[in-house]
């Protein structure tokens, strides 16, 4: 029997449902010969899951690229602001396209890690207090809790990104340390930021974080043919389960907005375009330059994302 330890963090939630499903499917397909023990934070701190994979402490782990950009520069392409991803299905498509690219695989191979699947996150739209901000000019001097590339994008239009941890986000909003917080919907719900909100940007779609699930390469190679087949063949089904589950949460989201009387802010296409040219373009160009300097094909990765996005939409 093969037993794998899987390191994720927090509590069981929408964000970990595909891992839970994967464990269920793999065990069923191998009659319990191959099992995944999922540990919520017992084996590692979330920012050190890649280290744990590299050491061989556990065989599978989840992490987010933005937690440590220098550990995984190639896949941070998926966290660039304003990529134009609108749905979770599109997020899955672009993520898996990048994961299949040799540059990303080489990047993760330094950690003895093999990219297995993504944990698609919706766009980090912001909730805020006071009057809705629906023009780029309104973002000036706005204190926003946003990290990484999204933080840089807001900074480019004159907003002030402010450092607070996710757990302090509610407190920070309540105390006026920040005016707005950028999170995915499930996080707005679980960290309670929605309870302080007067409005939510429905179509700003500034970007998101990218959180892959990886496996230890040695452990993967040591699997028997049947076990590997069971694992590989379960990925799509696990992702489908994740999407269903998150879809239900998104449906609930609209209901919550209504109950709490939160305004859905729709920005005009003109304002969005303004935001993109001020914020997204320079950040992307800088990113590509930095990557190429390190010998990572930045332009190629970015083009891959855009092409995949176009293809996915054409396919629908």
């Amino acid at each position: 029997a093969t037993e794998w330890n899987v390191s994720v963090w927090g509590k069981r939630r929408a964000f970990t449902e595909h891992v839970e499903k994967l464990a269920e499917l793999v065990s069923a397909k191998t009659d319990g010969e191959f099992t995944l023990n999922i540990s919520y934070g017992g084996l590692s701190k979330n920012k050190e899951n890649l280290d744990g994979i590299s050491i061989g402490a556990f065989e599978m782990a989840q992490f987010c690229a933005g937690y440590h950009r220098d550990k995984n520069p190639s896949i941070t392409v998926l966290e660039l602001p304003f990529l134009g991803v609108n749905t979770l299905e599109e997020e899955v498509a672009v993520s898996h396209a990048v994961y299949d690219h040799p540059a990303a695989q080489k990047d993760l191979a330094r950690w003895n890690a093999k990219l297995l699947m993504t944990s698609p996150m919706p766009q980090y739209n912001i909730v805020g207090t006071g009057d809705p901000r629906d023009t780029v000019a309104d973002f000036k001097d706005m204190r926003v809790r946003a990290t990484g590339g999204i933080g840089q994008a807001f900074s480019a239009v004159g907003a002030v990104p402010t450092s607070v941890t996710a757990t302090e986000a509610y407190n920070a909003m309540e105390s006026g340390v920040v005016d707005t917080v950028a999170f995915a919907q499930h996080a707005h719900l679980s960290f309670g930021t929605i309870n302080r909100a007067d409005w939510w940007t429905a179509n700003l779609n500034p970007g998101t974080v990218n959180c892959p699930v990886v496996v230890n390469t040695d452990a993967y190679d040591a699997l028997s043919g049947a076990e590997r087949e069971a694992l590989d063949s379960s990925v799509d089904e696990a992702i489908a389960h994740y999407l269903d589950n998150y879809g239900a949460l998104l449906a609930k989201w609209d209901q919550v907005l209504e109950e709490k009387g939160v305004t859905k802010v729709m920005m005009s296409e003109e304002e969005l375009a303004k935001f993109r040219t001020t914020a997204a373009d320079p950040i992307r160009e800088q990113w590509i330059k930095d990557m190429e300097a390190q010998g990572i094909p930045g332009q190629e990765l970015y083009d891959l994302v855009i092409k995949t996005l176009t293809d996915t939409r054409a396919g629908n």
Binding site: K47, D51, S54, G66, Y67, H68, R69, D70, K71, D141, R143, T147, G148, G151, V160, P161, T162, S163, V164, T165, V177, D290, A293, Q294
Partner: protein, 218 residues
């Protein structure tokens, strides 16, 4: 449970080495203290900047996380020198002479074993975050403003190595006491009973209270 103890000093080689190492340890511990002070200043800058200029300190959390290892590790050998890491001394406090030194020696050697392993482990944690080929030599960066983390990670093996030196010195001190059958060996912390320890702690506060009185009505 007891922490503080006294370290005897004399003219022997081991005692002279003890004091040399103590100088290094004190400098490192003061660095720890100054780092605590810098936390305070960081908060003042952050809150002040936010409220007065709408310009909060960028990466406030990242900076705190960088300062914390400085606070947590640098004084570790200094505390070990005085026997300041807490322990339960009901059993060991009842021992006398060679039996006591034997227990202390074994305990120190076990700690040394652990710390050598941790120097190795924390060094390897550092090397995973360090790469001469990468920009800023960084293979691991902070979440918000992307500070390289390797300098903070390097502090652990450095401080632990100094602790290992201190442990070698203490092992030597206890071993020597055991072989020579010394009553009051130099360079190792002596167990004080709880009352003596309390007196020592109180004495340390006398200074504070005198300052207190001196500074007026207080």
């Amino acid at each position: 449970m007891a922490g503080n103890a006294a370290v005897l000093e004399d003219g022997s080689l081991i005692s002279r080495l003890d004091r040399k190492l103590l100088h290094v340890e004190q400098v490192l511990a003061l660095l720890s203290g100054l780092a605590v002070f810098s936390l305070m200043l960081l908060a003042v800058v952050s809150v002040g900047g936010r409220n007065a200029l709408n310009a909060p300190l960028p990466g406030y959390v990242d900076w705190i996380e960088q300062v914390m290892p400085l606070i947590a590790f640098m004084g570790i050998a200094f505390v070990q020198r005085d026997g300041g890491h807490i322990r339960m001394d009901i059993v060991i406090g009842a021992l006398r002479g060679r039996a006591l030194w034997l227990f202390e020696l074994v305990s120190i050697l076990l700690i040394l074993l652990l710390m050598l392993a941790l120097v190795w482990g924390s060094w390897s944690h550092f090397t995973r975050s360090f790469d001469f080929a990468a920009p800023l030599w960084s293979r691991d960066s902070s979440i918000d403003i992307g500070l390289p983390i390797w300098p903070a990670k390097l502090l652990a093996p450095v401080a632990f190595s100094v602790l290992c030196l201190r442990l070698v010195l203490q092992a030597w001190g206890y071993g020597r006491a055991m072989v020579l059958g010394l009553e009051n060996p130099p360079a190792v912390p002596m167990i004080l009973d709880a009352a003596e320890q309390a007196a020592a702690e109180a004495e340390q506060l006398v200074g504070h209270e005198d300052d207190d009185a001196m500074s007026g009505q207080g």
